[in-house]
Structure formats: C-alpha cells, structure tokens
C-alpha cells in the first residue's frame, strides 16, 4: 500500500471512530469528558498509520499525525452534522418545544426575547422538519471542535510514538 493510500485510510478510520463514538447511545457519553471520543479517534488513526507505514519503511512525522487528526476531525464534523440533520428530519422531532416544556416543568421563567427566538426556531421545525439556523450552528460548532480535538489526539499519539522510538534507539 502506498503512503497516500495509508494516509487516506487512516483519516477514514479515525473519522469512523469519532462518528461511532459520537452517535452511539451510551458510548457517546465519552465525548462529555472534554471530547475524549474525538481525541481517541485521532489517537487510533495515527497509531494505525504508524503500524501500517512500518511495512513500507516510512517513519511518520508530527506533520502527518497533526494532518490526519485535523482532517479526520473535519470529515467527521461534516458527516455528523448530516447524520444529526437526517435524524431530525426523519423523526420529525421538535427539540425546541421539548426544551421549552422541560424548562416550564422545572419552573424556569424564560425571558421574552429568548422565548421569541426559540419560537421562531420551533416554527422552522414545524414548517420544514428542521431548523436551517440550528443545523448551520451545529455544523459550525462541529467544524471548530472536531478538527481541534482531532488534531490534539493526533499530536498526542505521535508524542507517545516518538517516546517509544527514543526508547528503542
């Protein structure tokens, strides 16, 4: 396998792990510990790349690790936003109404400005089955958070690999 193929496969594997952890019930709790699931995805992708490149005598660098982590973060961020949007459309769920109800049950009084804003989101959900603004915000949030934590995961993995290499030398 050529180095470029290994790179691409590592990015896909890493993105798959990130998405799997983020989507699966119960397992997704991992992400609530400072996006540990995304970091784990980055770690796995880089460890896989290191393992595969040994056979072609290529020594991966911090640059490779950072790029694999960041790109898999971008890829998983986009795919996850699409999955979230698809689930919202399919289930025809209106999370805004459910949120307002929960607030009322707990006795919280939301300010009128916030309530108006939430109502406008809710109307979008009722009309189209999803809210374009919330979907966009979700995509932007994912495109910021996933590449950052993916990159950190890649860099962390490379630090471990480097430490191991130093011990061998």
């Amino acid at each position: 396998m050529s180095i470029n193929k290994i790179r691409i496969f590592s990015i896909f594997l890493s993105a798959f792990v990130m998405i799997f952890i983020s989507v699966m019930p119960i397992i997704s709790i991992i992400n609530l510990f400072c996006c540990a699931g995304i970091v784990i995805g980055g770690l796995i992708g880089v460890f896989y790349m290191d393992h595969k490149t040994k056979s072609i005598n290529y020594s991966i660098s911090f640059k490779d690790a950072g790029i694999v982590g960041a790109l898999s973060g971008i890829l998983s961020g986009i795919i996850l936003s699409i999955i979230t949007l698809a689930i919202t459309i399919i289930t025809r769920e209106n999370p805004i109404d459910a949120g307002i109800k929960t607030f009322e049950e707990f006795g919280f009084q939301l300010p009128n400005e916030v309530l108006n804003q939430l109502q406008s989101f809710s109307e979008e959900y009722s009309k189209y089955g999803f809210s374009f603004r919330i979907a966009l915000l979700n995509l932007l949030g994912n495109l910021i958070i996933y590449p950052i934590f993916g990159f950190l995961g890649g860099i962390l993995a490379m630090s471990f690999i480097n430490k191991k290499r130093q011990k061998i030398v």
């Binding site: 609530l32 300010p111 958070i145 630090s159």
Partner: protein, 161 residues
C-alpha cells in the same frame, strides 16, 4: 530559523482566550440574552448540567466542574511551563505514565460514582480534572513545536528546490 517560543505563545494565547470565554459568557448573558446561544458551542464538549457547574454572577459557566478544572489547570501549567522545564533547551514530552495517572484517577472517580460508592462531589471532579489539565500541555506543547517545525523545514526545502 524556527522559533520555538512562537508555538508556545500561540498555544498560551489560545488556552487563555478559551478560559476568558468560559468565565465571560455568564457575565455577557447578564447583559444580552443573545449570547446564551454560545452555550450550545460548549454543549458539544461538556454535559453542562446546572447542578454540576460553577455559577458566576448568577449565571452558569458553560462547562462543568471537571472541565473547568482541566482548562484552568492547562492555562496555569502552560504559564508555568517555561519555569518547570528547561523550555528553550529541552522540548521533549515526559513519560506516558505522567498522563496515565490522572486519567486513571478520573476513571476511578467515574466508576466509584457510578457504583454509588460515593455521591457527586464537585471538589473531587475539579481536582481530578485539574490533575489531567495540568499534565496535558507537557505532551501537547512538544508535539505542537515538532509539528510546526516540520512544516517550517518542509517549506524551506521546497524553497531551496
């Protein structure tokens, strides 16, 4: 020549801004409710449960006690990094054990709470988060330095060609 301290200052600036953002958000929401939408950005990183988060000026911080400990400790240890390590000479990551200890502490805390050995204690969450956040920059900073150094070398090689 690649300047190592630039990487350090970029990371310091990033983590400083992140911390400022965390502490300013509840204050900003007191002035304008529109800022409350920013909580959703942190929602991807943290559960943001009200009873498990620190409150400032009547508003909830956008992260829980544990995450707050991680980010605050990361800022403190980044500030102390040049003094704790011979920073400009030696830029190597420490033993993996240093990272494993706080991770194991955190996992133990989660398991003990799940098995109802003890109930939620905010100080324990903060301390375990703090211990992890404190060691993280010692692994991330050398990695970042190497990453940007390699990119710089590649750029120089391309220019030379």
């Amino acid at each position: 020549m690649f300047k190592q301290h630039i990487t350090y200052f970029i990371f310091l600036l990033g983590i400083l801004l992140f911390n400022i953002f965390i502490y300013l958000l509840p204050i900003a929401c007191n002035y304008n409710d529109d800022f409350s939408i920013m909580y959703s950005v942190f929602g991807a990183v943290c559960h943001q449960i009200d009873s498990r988060s620190f409150h400032l000026f009547g508003g909830k911080l956008p992260v829980c006690f544990r995450c707050q400990g991680i980010y605050l400790a990361a800022l403190i240890s980044t500030l102390l990094y040049p003094f704790l390590k011979s920073f400009f000479k030696n830029y190597e990551s420490p033993s993996v054990l240093l990272l494993l200890v706080p991770v194991l502490l955190m996992i133990t805390d989660i398991l003990l709470e799940l098995t109802a050995v003890y109930k939620y204690i905010s100080l324990v969450k903060f301390v375990t988060g703090f211990s992890l956040g404190f060691v993280l920059p010692f692994f991330i900073l050398p990695g970042l330095k190497n990453f940007f150094e390699e990119i710089h070398i590649n750029k120089l090689q391309n220019e030379y060609k």
